[in-house]
Subunit: 203 residues, 2 copies
DNA sequence: ACCTGAACACCGTTCAAGT
DNA sequence: ACCTGAACACCGTTCAAGT
């Protein structure tokens, strides 16, 4: 049974969920697809191209049309969409962060953010800059979430190591961070960012 | 001449500037230090431990005591310090992003941010959450800066590829992003974040 | 057009043996 | 205590040869 490009990408994303990005090897992925590792090079020039295609597939829906709503809600929805897309597969955020975001999907998503911000009266230069800032926040937050979900080998909770030697405020902050829902923390930071953007809008 | 742990870390950071993180191999680093690759395992249990020590050395000064100043200025200084530290060596941001920020330096820096924010009246839980948001922004921005400084092989400016098919606002945003100083964009985003934080302070 | 089988040039890591 | 020399189990990638 012959493989198509889309089959490889689909199989690779499935493989990601069971083995993780570190386990994703051309040979192992080939085996999972009943094919030798070298055969994958009929479909992709190299592994980086495969990973890019995977990242692009992962973020497919992020740039979908936005519902009519105030700009704050629209930006909020875009941030939530992006995070949800990356959380849909194990190591999704690391996958996206590794490929330089040249994919068509990230471009249309970025364009959406810029358009929404320009609609508030911001100049395109500032809107572009803030679109990237939003990207950094969402990506960074989701990366951390997924790293904690699959701790990479020997991992000591860094609280017990040093927190006691530091400020009590810091100890309490770490303690509380560990016990609150990541989704809640994500929304709090996202809304904080949005308020920062609001402060930039010419009145 | 025998090597000490600190010599290896120092040599590795020097090596980073000339060969980049992708070129940093235990064998090649050994050769640069006039030693076989395997000898490095007398000083570090594995490569990850070496990279972590490098990242820790890189971010050494970030947690230094802060000058007396309004909280906005203090947060601004911390963000600038962190970025400057990573820019000091090629691939510095990628190095830091790869090691799980368990290093002592990132902890004391994080503690500083939390303390400053708690000083404004924010609860430790919120301060901790915002400290991580700041971390994501600075790291993400600096990663992008360094990736563009050393484009990883075949890189097409993604503007000419697709921008023309999209919104004119987006095209203008990308165009302007390419022509403005990264330091200026960084400061703009950093101050925007700070304004967002300000909106969270109980009045 | 797609795949096999085998190779090439690398990796990180380990470990006896030397000094 | 630190290093050499050589090996082990992997990588990504290439390419003749098969179907």
């Amino acid at each position: 049974m012959l493989l198509r490009k889309a089959d490889v990408v689909e199989g690779a994303l499935k493989f990601l969920d069971t083995e993780g990005l570190d386990g994703l090897t051309m040979r192992k992925l080939g085996a999972a697809l009943n094919v030798h590792g070298g055969a994958l090079y009929r479909h992709f020039p190299n592994k980086a191209a495969l990973l890019e295609a995977m990242a692009n597939k992962l973020t497919e829906g992020v740039g979908a049309p936005l519902p009519e709503a105030p700009w704050r809600d629209q930006i909020y929805v875009l941030g939530q969409r992006f995070r949800a897309a990356m959380l849909a597969h194990r190591d999704g955020a690391r996958l996206v962060s590794g490929t330089h975001a040249t994919g068509a999907n990230s471009i249309t998503a970025g364009s959406l953010v810029v358009d929404v911000l320009c609609g508030t009266g911001l100049a395109p230069a500032q809107a572009g800059s803030l679109a990237f800032s939003l990207y950094y926040y969402v990506l960074g937050h989701t990366l951390d979430e997924q790293n904690q979900a699959h701790p990479p080998e020997g991992w000591q909770s860094s609280e017990n190591q040093l927190a006691s030697t530091l400020t009590p405020e810091y100890a309490e902050a770490i303690e509380s961070l560990m016990h609150t829902d990541p989704a809640e923390r994500f929304a709090y930071g996202l809304n904080t960012f949005i308020e920062g953007v609001a402060s930039r809008i010419p009145k």
